[in-house]
């Protein structure tokens, strides 16, 4: 196991689109172990994506089981080649990023998503996620596409005051 260096803005590698994982070998397992160690060592992050440590591959780890107030979650997930296949609703929330220290801001994300992914052994799975976990997943999948949360910021003064009214119109398809 080894700690990996977390890339920080303005490192151009954070803006690259990552490649699919095609080999589910020992090297992948070793990298995933290192990525998890790196996530745990830093400031409490619910997720981390491979491009954040300079590996341009579609691998993310999320774990929303340890929030201050419990939220619906699937526990600790290692996701390889994750793809969001459905979005529904939208919600404003505050985000920060290991790669953007000392800054948090408001971002709009889908409230519910459906995810198709592989695990570290290459097996296929589907998950339905909502709320905080869906937000974490979208944040991490963005890293795989070279997008940071600061690319999606909305004004500090923006507030979806009557959020429920907007929900019906919030459907978005890829």
């Amino acid at each position: 196991m080894a700690m990996l260096e977390i890339l920080k803005l303005p490192d151009p590698r954070l803006k690259e689109v990552a490649e699919d994982v095609t080999r589910f070998d020992e090297d992948l397992q070793q990298f995933i172990a290192d990525l998890e160690e790196t996530r745990q060592a830093g400031p409490a992050a619910v997720g981390i994506a491979a491009p954040q440590v300079g590996r341009s591959q579609r691998i993310v780890i999320i774990d929303c089981s340890t929030t201050r107030k419990p939220v619906p979650n699937h526990g600790h997930l290692i996701l390889v080649n994750p793809e969001i296949i459905e979005w529904d609703g939208f919600e404003l929330g505050r985000e920060g990023c290991l790669s953007v220290p000392d800054y948090t801001g408001n971002v709009i994300r889908a409230e519910r998503i459906k995810l198709r992914t592989q695990d570290p052994q290459g097996e296929h799975h589907e998950y339905e996620m909502e709320g905080y976990e869906a937000r974490a997943l979208q944040h991490e999948v963005d890293h795989l596409d070279g997008i940071l949360f600061i690319d999606r910021l909305v004004s500090r003064r923006t507030d979806l005051f009557q959020r429920k009214v907007y929900q019906k119109g919030g459907k978005k398809k890829k």
Binding site: K69, E95, D102, R135
Partner: protein
Amino acid sequence: MNWQMLTLVGEDQPGIVARITDALYRGGCTLGETSMIRLGGNFTIMMMVDGGQSEQALASIITPVSEQLKLKFHLDPMHGGLHQHRVPNFQVRVNGADRAGIVARVTGVLSACGFNILELASDVVGDSQQPVYIMTIQGYAEVDIEVLESALEKLESEDIDVHVSPIETLIG
């Protein structure tokens, strides 16, 4: 760094930020955190400015352009600096028929709970017959949400609608 707080206010018009920041840049200044908003149709901005100059030298950079734009400005030496952000853990939304004292009542209750306001924005909306006051506050408090909720509950009898929600900042 030797930051000064520059405040500029006056009638709004397009291009103010560009003209002011160009003058500062040409004068050898750098900017830190800034915040601009229109209040009642007026232009307002506060900027952390540093160029190593004295207050008088900085004023001489700003004066020509502020006079052209008919803006008033003010400079204060400031303590503190960059990288002092604090992350809020509560959001408070307030609305009610506009009347004097809403801000004082709400913030007074929050303050008594040890709530530290980090961001606040308020607006009077609706029309002149039925003005409505809307305010959003983000801040930090050590107490549980139930403590804030029960403290704010008494404002309901004063027709002030206050809603507190936790902010769980996602770090990813």
